[in-house]
């Protein structure tokens, strides 16, 4: 639904009445106050904190250090390693989410009996808490008795149970799988909306021209899905970069730092080392990256509002 023209029409009319101006201000005031107090002020305050060497282990001496916290972070190999891990986690997750969600959306776009049931159960992973999701997968991945080991064993793919989350080579893949499973439903819904907006006459025209199913998919469906893909990509990238819960539940950054991502480092610096200055600086770097991504969303959104 496009909101631009309506708004424009309303804005071009007569001058703003004083009563309307006053009521609008009153109606907006609670939201403005709340968001200023709980969002804007904290994010500015966070930047201020990041300029100090604030350690809760040493609360009475808080020297101003300027951008030293940032400089230290950028010189720390651990930081760059975790940026690498966050990046690979994000790339793997987003690619898998887009692929699986596309298949699911294509299925739900068909008319058949049982479609309603599928779209209802699709919401289950989306609705459950990340903590429960984490516990569930931790049990599935269990090296001693887990379902994944059991399944691979019964299928004859392994001779004996293998180490799963404790294996540095598998841990990120397994965490990615848990994340993807929970994020796929939202992506599917978004892609489905895009699919529904494709005009049916495009397909019938292509059929008349003799295009087969595969050709229609490549030449009509895929290009039409581009805006949906873009939206999913930006949104899920923002989600993956900041993701914390599964790393906490499944591995706590281990084994041997194999899943030590940036979000986990923020937690370690802040609440384990109690180095609030460094934690704030790290979180600020993440916020800036997220904002840069979100900029594209806001730009396309505000054009519509």
């Amino acid at each position: 639904m496009s909101l631009g023209t309506k708004t424009l029409r309303r804005l071009i009319g007569s001058p703003v009445s004083a009563y309307d101006q006053k009521s609008a201000m009153l109606f907006l005031a609670p939201m403005m106050v709340i968001l200023t107090v709980v969002a804007v002020f904290p994010i500015l305050y966070s930047f201020w904190i990041s300029l100090f060497d604030l350690k809760l282990t040493r609360p009475h001496r808080v020297p101003f250090v300027g951008f030293d916290n940032y400089a230290n972070i950028f010189q720390d190999q651990m930081f760059w390693d975790s940026v690498g891990r966050s990046t690979s986690f994000t790339l793997m997750s987003v690619a898998a989410i887009m692929f699986i969600a596309m298949l699911m959306a294509l299925l739900l776009n068909e008319e058949f009996r049982g479609r309603r049931i599928l779209s209802a159960i699709l919401l289950i992973p989306w609705a459950i808490p990340y903590v429960a999701n984490g516990l569930m997968w931790k049990w599935i991945y269990d090296s001693g008795y887990g379902a994944l080991n059991g399944l691979l064993f019964q299928l004859g793919l392994i001779d004996k149970y293998a180490v799963m989350l404790g294996d540095v080579h598998k841990t990120m893949l397994l965490i990615t799988n848990s994340f993807v499973w929970k994020e796929v439903p939202l992506a599917t819904i978004l892609l489905l909306v895009t699919l529904k907006s494709i005009r049916a006459d495009l397909y019938s025209a292509a059929k008349v021209d003799g295009a087969n199913v595969w050709q229609r998919f490549i030449h009509i469906t895929l290009p039409a899905l581009t805006p949906g893909f873009a939206l999913v990509m930006i949104y899920e990238t923002m989600m993956a970069i900041r993701h914390f819960d599964l790393f906490f539940i499944l591995t706590e950054g281990g084994p041997a730092d194999a899943s030590h991502v940036v979000a986990w480092q923020v937690y370690v610096e802040t609440f384990r080392k109690l180095a609030f200055g460094t934690g704030a600086a790290l979180a600020y770097i993440m916020a800036i990256v997220t904002f840069t991504l979100a900029f594209f969303i806001i730009r396309s959104t505000s054009r519509k509002l």
Binding site: M1, T7, R10, V16, Y19, D20, S23, A24, M25, L26, F27, P30, M31, M32, L35, A39, V40, P42, I43, I49, L107, L118, A120, I121, L123, A127, I128, P129, Y130, V131, A132, G134, L135, W139, D142, Y145, Q154, Y161, W181, L186, I189, L190, V193, V213, L231, R242, F244, T270, F271, F276, G279, A283, Y284, M286, T290, F291, I297, T301, S302, L305
Partner: protein, 302 residues
């Protein structure tokens, strides 16, 4: 149709089966193992369907408050019967109550704040409308992890650490922009003429909102209530930072604490996991239509 009718049906059936398995298999395994004793879930290979289903894991949770869990009682507890329960087991039900209180409070406050704001943004002409929209959209994308440090210092200075109030306030930060956004879009889609007619009839702005638009906006209100409820019910990171005791610990925190117990009893944890997912899953399936339309409106436009 190029694909023959029967072939199409077989393909759809096969695809639906894969779809359902991908979504449901992990959940089904969680539910199945929550009805198995510790002895049974540690069988190799696993029993996909419980051979001797038991409700013991659930009864442990509901009776945990009477049990004193010490190192000795736990050592005596028979591993095979699921006797090793986490020392925090008795906290689960009170924490679900905390989650409920926090979620309901956030839902109410959220509506009080976002409904009038959304109406103003959608239906009133005033100076500063565009900048207000930019403001709301910008706050929507602040990542929660960037708010952790300043929030913690605020909450600590206000003496609100370990209180439900600290969670309620901070959850507003992550839910209000989204709610306002969805509601603004919905109000925009309702006809302007209603607004004019009500105003001509002598309704004040407040009356126009409450008497004319609110009843019409019911579907989007339901969606907003659901999102806010689920977000608050499921939130983990901020709760992990601010809560220390049962005065404020929410369900995700207590459930997570089970995993840090070294004598972990998976049969117990699975039952706790099932309890944790039941409320959101019921809500999601009951209100599927509202959720899908809300998600679509909310995410497609931002």
């Amino acid at each position: 149709m190029k694909i023959p009718h029967l072939g199409r049906r077989a393909l759809l059936f096969f695809a639906s089966l894969l779809f359902a398995m991908y979504v449901l298999a992990p959940i089904a395994w969680l539910v199945s193992s929550s009805f198995q004793s510790e002895a049974e879930i540690t069988s190799v290979p696993p029993h996909w369907i419980p051979h001797q289903p038991t409700l013991e894991n659930f009864s442990t949770i509901f009776t945990a408050k009477d049990q004193v869990v010490t190192y000795d009682t736990r050592k005596e507890g028979d591993t095979a019967s699921g006797g090793f329960i986490p020392s925090t087991a008795k906290n689960l039900l009170p924490s679900m109550w905390n989650s409920l209180v926090v979620a309901v409070s956030v839902v109410i406050l959220n509506l009080l704040v976002s409904v009038p704001a959304a109406y103003a943004l959608a239906k009133i002409r005033f100076i500063g409308r565009d900048s207000s929209i930019y403001f709301m959209l910008t706050t929507r994308v602040i990542p929660d992890i960037a708010l952790v440090v300043p929030f913690f210092l605020f909450v600590q200075q206000l003496g609100l650490l370990d209180s439900k109030l600290s969670l309620i306030i901070t959850y507003l930060a992550i839910t209000v922009p989204f709610s306002t956004f969805i509601l603004t879009g919905y109000f925009e889609s309702l006809p302007d003429d209603l607004d004019k007619a009500a105003r001509v009839d002598g309704c004040s702005r407040l009356q126009t909102l409450t008497l004319v638009y609110l009843p019409l906006a019911l579907p989007s209100l339901v969606a907003v209530v659901l999102f806010t409820f689920l977000t608050s019910w499921n939130e983990f990171l901020l709760a992990l930072m601010f809560t220390q005791t049962l005065a404020s610990q929410t369900m995700p925190i207590v459930v997570a604490s089970f995993t840090s117990d070294f004598t972990i009893s998976f049969s117990f944890i699975n039952a706790a996991g099932v309890l944790a997912i039941v409320p959101p899953v019921v809500v999601a399936i009951m209100f599927e239509r509202y959720i899908v339309s809300g998600l679509t409106a909310g995410a497609v436009k931002g």
